[in-house]
Amino acid sequence: MSATATDAPAVRFAAACKSFGDTRVLDRFDLDIPRGEKTVIIGPSGSGKSTLLRILMTLEGIESGRVEICGETLTDRFDGVERAPRGRGRLRKIRGHVGMVFQQFNLFPHMSALENVACGPRLSLRRSRVEAEAEAEALLRRVGLGDKLGSYPLQLSGGQQQRVAIARAMALRPEVMLFDEVTSALDPELIGEVLAVMRELASETSLTMLVVTHQMGVARALADRVCFLENGRLVEQGPPEQVLDAPENPRTREFLHALNLA
């Protein structure tokens, strides 16, 4: 009955509903993301993109419906009746599948780049310091920051900070990586270096990526599939050539048109 870890989709939303007060953000939302797929989510501001990712990172709950990550049910509350809270062990197990990179980087300012990347493995995977730092160093080299190991976040540029943040999330070897407008807070000339790192990650076939972006260049570079979200509904989805170049839905067309003018 319960799907085993390997044949279940990486992410499944089934009739998921989420509101903030009177604002209904997700309304009986359905979405399946197969393992290894790189999904890009686009849509107007306030359409629920961040909320979608935050639910997967367990930063928000849902009121009803179902959300699964790698076959494990994240939340199942029905009819507005909250069920007994999940055991902490279970929540932490689910979080172990997922990594997230934020728009504002959210690095720990009191830790060096190396400590930022090593702290997840050290604390939540209980790796030894030597082991965690060796791995962190390798990851930082991979994102092109081998010479910034000892730098503190405030000493790094936005692009460098965001690359540290990506390395930090990858250090826990998640199966699903969430990127919430990770290039939006960057000066235009710094977007390329972060995008290059994301493209390199996208070459890992087993890694599932969910990328929210307003930048169509980012979408084209990464997407197997593009989802257009509006008012918490999936208006259109398909391969990037279709959704971005020949959208069927008038709402998608309107949104892309407005973006091009901006």
Partner: protein, 220 residues
């Protein structure tokens, strides 16, 4: 000046008592402040009694609290020596102030940092000790330093529960010699120097804790 020189040992003894009361009460206040500041973010059953403690001790004067400990408790069968009364009384009172500082710093702690900790799958305790406190302590330090200076000045209240602190000795000298100006000058200078020491200590600690990641960038 002769007066001061003649009574130097008495004054030094008084200084010793003042320092002892301030340091012990300060440590108690900091420990209480951090514990109760954290507890107020806990479940209501813990947070509420702590809230009442803070309001009661913030809302009544330190002098009254000392008097209750020293004069009222013995009537109820609990007799504490003056030093214990002074330390516990001031510790409880300033613990309540520290508690507010800790609570404020925790409440204002950026939510995004906690969310990053969730994304890294840290436990609640790890988040507190590795992410929240190292940053929040730095925010609290200047305010806690100020409170310790306030505590130093309030420590003269213990002279009213028979403890022979610096204020107590200076007043005895005034009564014996009528050299008010000299005795007052000693008090003025001594408390000022002690207060400067506390402020300096707090700033040094702040620079040490935050210098590596914050100080350098301020210079930039």
């Amino acid at each position: 000046m002769d007066t001061i020189w003649n009574y130097r040992w008495l004054l030094l003894q008084g200084l010793g008592v003042t320092v002892q009361v301030t340091v012990l009460a300060g440590l108690l206040a900091l420990a209480l402040g951090i514990a109760t500041g954290l507890a107020r973010r806990g479940p209501p059953l813990i947070a509420w009694p702590v809230h009442i403690y803070v309001e009661v001790f913030r809302g009544t004067s330190a002098l009254v609290q000392l008097f209750v400990l020293f004069f009222v408790l013995p009537g109820m069968g609990l007799r504490l020596d003056p030093m214990t009364c002074g330390v516990v009384g001031l510790g409880l009172c300033y613990g309540a102030y520290c508690s507010e500082v800790v609570r404020g710093a925790l409440n204002n702690f950026p939510r995004a940092q906690r969310e990053a900790a969730v994304a890294l799958n840290l436990t609640g305790t790890q988040t507190l000790t590795r992410v929240v406190l190292p940053q929040a302590l730095l925010v609290m330090l200047p305010q806690l330093g100020n409170l310790m200076v306030e505590l130093l000045k309030a420590s003269s209240l213990v002279s009213l529960i028979t403890l022979a602190d610096l204020t107590f000795q200076a007043r005895s000298i005034m009564r014996l010699t009528l050299h008010t100006v000299e005795a007052m000058s000693v008090l003025l200078v001594a408390y000022f120097v002690l207060a400067q020491l506390i402020s300096f200590g707090a700033r040094a600690l702040e620079a040490r804790l935050g210098g590596a990641w914050r100080g350098r960038t301020e210079e930039r």
